[in-house]
């Protein structure tokens, strides 16, 4: 929710900033320079920006809009694998673009593993996963100081079972934006 508010206020700021640039049209300056014709005065901008909180409008945060790829936050891995699979490339690219276009935004990536093996070693494995996502985001234009990669090891499973169906849900990296953690 905090992110949504952040986005809305960012959108509002953008709306109020935009008309200032349009307030001094080139024609006015030209008219004063040449001295020909009547003095013109710009018509005050009466544009009204609509803020739609009903959840259907365009003001909805792309980070949480289920129709936006940016609402997808998890990358899943094969057993003992750390590379981002091709099927998650588009997702990572979209988040990289968002970070690049929104330089004030910060992100936490939490790497996770399945329950097998030592808890501390699994923190190491999860770190390898989140570091991999961070590296990819940076190659795609995000700044290093925008992204913190950490590991929760096997401590925060998404699925509680003790079989491959559960384990495959738990080998993942989760993306969170500032305000979401």
């Amino acid at each position: 929710m905090r992110v949504l508010i952040l986005i809305v206020s960012a959108a509002l700021a953008a709306c109020s900033a935009a008309p200032t640039q349009e307030q001094s049209p080139a024609e006015v300056t030209d008219a004063q320079k040449t001295g020909t014709g009547p003095q013109t005065k710009p018509v005050p901008d009466r544009q009204v920006a609509t803020v739609d909180l009903t959840g259907k409008g365009a003001a909805r945060s792309p980070l949480t809009d289920p129709n936006s790829i940016l609402s997808r936050r998890s990358i899943y891995y094969d057993y003992d694998k750390f590379d981002v699979k091709d099927q998650y490339r588009e997702l990572v690219e979209a988040h990289a673009r968002f970070l690049r276009d929104n330089p004030k935004f910060k992100m936490l990536i939490q790497g996770n593993t399945d329950e097998r093996g030592s808890r501390e070693y699994n923190i190491g494995l999860g770190q390898k996963r989140s570091d991999g996502v961070k590296r990819m985001l940076m190659l795609l234009g995000a700044r290093e100081d925008q992204i913190e990669s950490v590991s929760l090891g096997e401590e925060k499973p998404k699925a509680e079972g003790h079989d491959e169906a559960a384990w495959s849900q738990n080998r993942r990296s989760d993306i969170l934006y500032e305000g979401e953690y």
């Binding site: 936490l108 939490q110 097998r116 093996g117 030592s118 808890r119 501390e120 070693y121 923190i123 190491g124 494995l125 770190q127 390898k128 570091d131 913190e148 990669s149 950490v150 590991s151 929760l152 090891g153 401590e155 925060k156 003790h162 969170l176 953690y181």
Partner: protein
């Protein structure tokens, strides 16, 4: 309101009672010392001191209890007929008494006898308050254990472990027999890797209360805690140097998972040791503080390595299998306990560092975090029994196994504390 509070208190009391850990011996050593422990006259007003001593000694797997005839109360001052006790097959006899003092305190006296040698092995007199009864019984058991085995007893030591109930994580401190547990920390986020400071008064551990792993040092008596490794990225796997002032920790701040030394009070700069571009984790100091054992995947699979703390190349220590993790060196520096993956099962093994002989000690399949008792005889570990995490212990020679029954929570991450000075 008061009724509700009373009901709540009752619930809490009932809950903590059901959560007690009782250790059972499922196997035992070949020859056990037969010991007769007579009830201590006067103890009924305090606690069954003699019963706790008996349970402690039996639980070690090195003693077995000999029945004491009910006729006539005996105390440490009674005359002992050694022949009579030899006839009852007793190698040892313990007699004692408890007296209540005017000031509300108690006096416990006991004497130990070697019936085979017809020898009085002396004893101790203690002054104690009511709530020190269990601790006193453990001290008596330690005395007896040392007189007959030649090594120090660990009944007075404490253990730490984590209990998970739903989303609630509790760092608990209990006597070595799993009883008398108290929560040092309760959190909605995971707690792991508790490590006892050599002074037995502080614990280092990892807490995820900040949505990432951060290393804390926690003083048990006053509950004061300090984040000593809270760098960007992950901070985990604390291990105390024997000096009690330095911690080895694993940080990702410089990329990957690498081992650093930091001051245990959080002051000063971090110092990286080793570093391979792969995962280095689970550092553990040798007893002399000169060597660090650790887990690394630098060779392509998770194996145990060691390196000299002052610098130099790492040497590989484990070679059999493709997954050997969680190294813990025995207090005498001679054995290495670790977890090995053996046909898909995770089991505790020991490696004799001089002879390179290895032995798998358990037959369970999901063992974690082995931890030596301070006298080196037993190894405490967490394992899974009927889908729940439980504590278990095995002797370093594999002969004695102890199980801890279900406790109403998922128990993990045990760590055996040091001798109390």
């Amino acid at each position: 309101m008061r009724t509700l509070l009373a009901a709540l208190l009752f619930f809490c009391a009932a809950f903590s009672a059901s959560a007690q850990l009782t250790i059972e011996v499922t196997g035992a050593g070949a020859k056990r010392i037969a010991i007769a422990i007579a009830p201590f006259p006067g103890e009924s007003g305090l606690a069954s001191i003699s019963g706790i001593v008996r349970t402690d000694l039996e639980r070690s797997g090195l003693f077995r209890s000999v029945e004491v005839p009910a006729s006539g109360a005996m105390t440490e001052a009674s005359n002992v007929s050694y022949a009579e006790w030899r006839a009852r097959q007793a190698d040892a006899l313990v007699l004692g008494s408890v007296a209540a003092r005017q000031d509300g305190k108690f006096e416990v006296r006991f004497k130990l006898f070697d019936t085979q040698k017809s020898a009085d092995l002396s004893g101790i007199a203690f002054t104690l308050s009511r709530d020190q009864a269990r601790a006193t019984a453990h001290r008596i058991a330690d005395y007896i254990y040392e007189k007959f085995t030649g090594e120090k007893g660990v009944f007075s030591t404490r253990i730490a472990f984590v209990v998970k109930r739903g989303n609630r994580h509790e760092l608990q401190i209990a006597d070595a027999d799993g009883q008398g547990e108290e929560s040092a920390l309760v959190s909605n986020e995971p707690i792991l890797s508790p490590a006892w400071a050599p002074d037995g008064r502080r614990l280092a551990y990892v807490s995820m209360e900040n949505k990432k792993p951060v290393v804390y040092v926690h003083s048990l008596a006053d509950g004061k805690r300090q984040a000593v490794a809270h760098f960007r990225g992950s901070n985990s796997a604390p291990a105390w140097a024997p000096d009690g002032r330095t911690l080895a920790v694993v940080l990702s701040i410089e990329g990957g998972s690498q081992i650093f030394l930091i001051n245990a009070d959080g002051s000063g700069a971090r110092r990286r040791i080793g570093g391979s571009g792969s995962i280095d984790t689970e550092p553990f100091f040798s007893p002399d503080g000169q060597t660090l054992y650790f887990t690394s995947d630098r060779g392509g699979s998770a194996q145990i390595y060691r390196m000299v703390v002052s610098g130099g190349d790492a040497q590989r220590v484990t070679f059999e299998g493709t997954y050997n993790v969680s190294p813990r060196v025995s207090p005498d520096g001679k054995l290495l306990a670790y977890v090995t993956r053996n046909a898909g099962k995770f089991q505790v093994a020991v490696l004799d560092l001089a002879t390179r002989q290895t032995q798998i000690l358990t037959d369970s399949d999901r063992d974690e975090s082995p931890s030596f008792a301070p006298n080196g005889r037993m190894i405490l570990l967490a394992t899974i029994n009927s889908g729940r995490g439980v504590l278990s212990a095995v002797s370093a020679d594999g002969r004695i196994k102890q199980r801890v029954p279900y406790t109403g929570g998922d128990v993990r991450e045990p760590a055996w504390g040091p001798f109390i000075k």
